[in-house]
């Protein structure tokens, strides 16, 4: 099995099942037995790191190391380093100050974010973007790609956490901001985005606080685009009226 087979959600399932650390071993750069699977694996691991740290889990718990099958000593060294590190960090959640349902929820947020269409697409394109470039031939630096990933990771994680926290009860901006440890403005912006995608709506107003109902799935894309264009562009201008 190529390291390129390691789907971030496989990694997250492992954490969800109680692993305190996950080690991914790949071929040396330029020596991949499947041509470039290790590059894909590196891209996935680096984005998984971003997601883990966004949800408050120490990204060091996921380690990727490269070695050839002839490098036994290196494998021993990496494995020993890894187990020592995980022993030092202790059980998952301990050094992070997360436990029980809260830890599970954070991990589930990470899993869903990593499984999202947007992240899968941009991760999948990473090798191409940093090698051949996009369709305009623009090659992106690690730094540029990193910034783009940071933004998408923040959006996706925030959205998934809203979905998870709101799946059984109505939620308000204030409560969400508190549990997400972010500003109410940020939450509201996300909710408005979600409303546009058909994933959120105001169900009722309690006192002066709107209560939102959220859904995991939005409307189909085509309908959404149509709504958006109408909402943004409005009706075509007609000088007669």
């Amino acid at each position: 099995m190529c390291s390129g087979r390691v789907d971030p959600s496989l990694v997250m399932n492992t954490f969800l099942n109680g692993a305190d650390g996950v080690f991914v071993g790949g071929c040396l750069l330029g020596e991949c037995h499947y041509t470039d699977g290790n590059l894909h694996a590196l891209a996935r691991v680096s984005v998984t790191h971003k997601v883990l740290s966004f949800v408050g889990v120490n990204p060091e718990r996921l380690v990727m190391r490269l070695m050839s099958s002839a490098e036994g000593a290196k494998f021993v060294k990496y494995t020993t380093e890894f187990t020592d590190l995980i022993k030092k960090l202790g059980p998952l959640g301990k050094s992070e100050g997360l436990e029980g349902d809260e830890l599970s929820l954070k991990l589930e947020v990470a899993r869903r974010a990593l499984d999202s269409k947007k992240l899968k697409w941009v991760i999948g394109k990473k090798v191409e973007f940093s090698d051949k470039g996009n369709v305009y031939g623009e090659v992106f630096t690690e730094h540029e790609l990193g910034r783009m990933y940071d933004e998408i990771v923040m959006d996706e994680c925030t959205m998934q956490e809203i979905v998870l926290r709101g799946r059984e009860e109505l939620v308000s901006v204030k409560e969400l901001a508190k549990s997400l440890d972010t500003s109410p403005e940020r939450v509201l912006r996300q909710l408005v985005d979600m409303r546009r995608m058909g994933m959120a709506e105001i169900a009722e107003v309690q006192g002066r606080t709107p209560q939102w109902r959220v859904r995991a799935e939005g409307r189909p894309l085509s309908a959404r685009l149509l709504c958006d264009s109408v909402a943004v562009g409005g009706a075509p201008e007609n000088p007669q009226t």
Partner: protein, 597 residues
């Protein structure tokens, strides 16, 4: 815990929606979920191998076997002295019949060497061979935990439990069979390519030999004599070229290069373009890479100027044409090799130098030859004899170090030898630099077109250094000669014959069976035809086709190597890897983490 997640898990998708926060909280009930078997009774037999003392010497195999019997779905377990012996294999076959086993787990050594044997045993007993699961408790356990018997035993139990969890979810599979066109294409017309083409042609296969240069023969055209036979390299290679040209089964395309490669084992379409003719497509079943190597021109090393300081290949030229006038010769080895920019040892330059030094001593009366080396690579009895022979003949071997390399000045070479501890100043009228073989410039292009890997030095990388030295991981493509690594002429010839022999297996059969460990569209409904899978596939094994339900991914099974990059990229989770499904992998992870609480 509510039963819903369990239902979901068995739903239409390969990939279960597992591990929601609720699931995690319900630790106890998880056990059952892990242990739940798909429909139909699963009857697993587990065989734990002692491997003499290789395994049982370092862990308690009996204890592991007793433990295995307690695992869910395991109806039979046994400890064997040697599972791979005739008795061990018979035992497995009998147990399959006697205990109506429909899954077999063997915990022993490495699948690399023994999986085919145990799979065959299953097949002979009437069990689909993909219902066999191999657990490695030797390389992965007993050998690395010597002296920690309890820990090793516990780890072996963990590994067996994981194997059983996967075995429970294995499905019968059929190998993929595809026809093989009985023709070969050999890239490179040096000694390796010529030998390989001839060998294939003699077996009755049509061969197309593509050579980039105007003439066949490769590097040997510039070499003087061959060691140890003393045969003229030119005469030798000319006789091979003659045979190739005479053969009715070999088509030679000179001044030609490979432009594009499409297809897979059995049905490659290679477009070859040549200077004087238009490009044409060659349809072939297998491809052999024999693109060779080049000698590094030692520009910038030890004052190389091509006149007073020359390369070993230039010296060969002088010797061949009888133009060697110098009598005081200094050879410097490792010129441009085993340095920071080029870390590898080119392996053949020591012997080339010793060959030429001996020849000069023999043919030029009164000649003195100093050979300055860092280490000498004279492997094997014959080479060692040649080295001793050169010494006896008066070739002076002087050791030097990387930190303090020889200095070439006008008419003399200064060198300080760590062995003798002396500084020497050697008068000379010709300095010969033994520079390493380096990969051909075109290697990277060929590697990209064939989708086969290069190593860090840009030589072609075989599938396995010991077990598959002439194969690439991609089926139907083989490598030989110096394209793979610096090699002597006799080694290149052996490799070429080896590659021809290996390539002729699918050619003779006329079909190949491919392991059904390939990607598959497990959820066609979900596929949106976005094309990410096709974009990331390193083998061109995924294409997007128009169907009545819109664009969908389609897998070309024979081209797929089962790496799984496509499956991990699919945001719809529409792609799975057969025999390594997400469910099987997750089951193993869960069995490890949750199984023995």
């Amino acid at each position: 815990m509510s039963p819903e997640p369990e239902k979901e898990m068995k739903g239409k998708r390969d990939k279960p929606e597992k591990g929601s926060p609720v699931d995690r909280a319900g630790g106890e009930s998880r056990r059952q979920e892990v242990d739940a078997a798909p429909a139909g009774e699963i009857r697993i037999g587990a065989f734990i191998c002692n491997c003499g003392t290789n395994i049982a010497g370092f862990l308690d195999a009996k204890d592991v076997s007793d433990y295995a019997r307690m695992l869910p779905n395991v109806v039979f377990s046994r400890e064997n002295l040697f599972s791979c012996s005739e008795a061990g294999v018979t035992d497995i076959k009998n147990a399959i019949k006697e205990h109506k086993l429909n899954r077999v787990v063997v915990a022993a050594c490495t699948p690399r060497t023994h999986e085919p044997l145990f799979r065959a045993a299953c097949e002979e007993a009437g069990l689909n061979k993909f219902l066999f699961e191999f657990v490695n408790i030797r390389e992965h356990c007993s050998w690395v935990h010597k002296g920690e018997r309890d820990i090793a035993t516990q780890k072996a139990k963990d590994l067996v439990r994981m194997g059983v969890a996967r075995a429970t979810r294995l499905e019968p599979k059929e190998e993929i069979t595809t026809d093989v066109k009985r023709t070969a294409l050999v890239i490179g017309g040096g000694i390796s390519g010529l030998t390989c083409a001839l060998s294939l042609a003699r077996r009755g296969f049509m061969v197309t030999l593509v050579e980039r240069e105007k003439e066949l023969g490769g590097l040997l055209r510039y070499v003087n004599v061959l060691y140890p036979s003393g045969v003229s390299a030119g005469t030798f290679v000319a006789s091979r070229i003659k045979e190739v040209k005479k053969s009715s089964r070999i088509e030679v395309l000179t001044s030609s290069t490979v432009q594009n490669v499409k297809g897979y084992i059995g049905d490659y379409v290679v477009s070859v373009s040549s200077k004087d003719r238009k490009s044409r497509d060659v349809n072939c079943g297998v491809i052999v890479v024999a693109t060779g190597a080049n000698q590094l021109v030692p520009e910038g090393h030890f004052g190389y100027d091509g006149k007073k300081v020359v390369s070993q290949l230039q010296l060969e030229g002088m010797l061949r044409q009888g133009k060697l006038k110098s009598k005081r010769i200094v050879m410097i080895l490792c010129a441009g090799a085993r340095i920071r920019e080029r870390v590898y040892c080119s392996k053949i330059c020591c012997m080339t130098s010793i060959k030429n030094a001996t020849l000069i001593k023999k043919t030029v009366p009164g000649a003195s030859v100093h050979l300055l080396y860092r280490d000498l690579q004279c492997y094997g009895v014959a080479n060692e004899e040649a080295y001793l022979g050169a010494k006896a003949m008066g070739v002076r071997f002087v050791n030097y170090s990387l930190e303090n390399p020889p200095v070439v000045e006008n008419g003399r070479v200064r060198v300080s030898s760590p062995l003798s501890g002396r500084e020497m100043s050697i008068e000379t009228d010709l300095v010969v630099l033994a520079s390493p073989l380096v990969p051909r410039e075109g290697a990277e292009v060929v590697s990209r077109m064939l989708k086969v890997p290069l190593d860090e030095n840009k030589f072609f990388l075989e599938a396995h250094v010991k077990l598959r030295p002439m194969d690439f991981a991609t089926d139907g493509i083989y490598v030989c000669g110096t394209a793979h690594w610096p090699a002597s002429v006799s080694e290149s010839i052996s490799q070429a014959l080896g590659a021809a022999s290996h390539a002729s297996i699918p050619l003779t059969r006329g079909y190949v069976k491919v392991e059904p460990i390939v990607s598959e569209l497990v959820d066609e409904e979900a596929c949106r035809g976005c094309g990410m899978c096709a974009a990331v596939c390193p083998y061109g094994a995924v294409e997007i086709v128009e169907t009545d339900k819109g664009p969908k991914a389609r897998m070309i099974e024979v081209a797929c190597k089962g790496c799984g990059v496509c499956a991990a990229s699919c945001y719809k989770r529409a792609i799975g890897i057969s025999h390594y499904t997400d469910e099987q992998l997750d089951a193993q992870v869960r069995a490890y983490l949750k199984g023995d609480e």
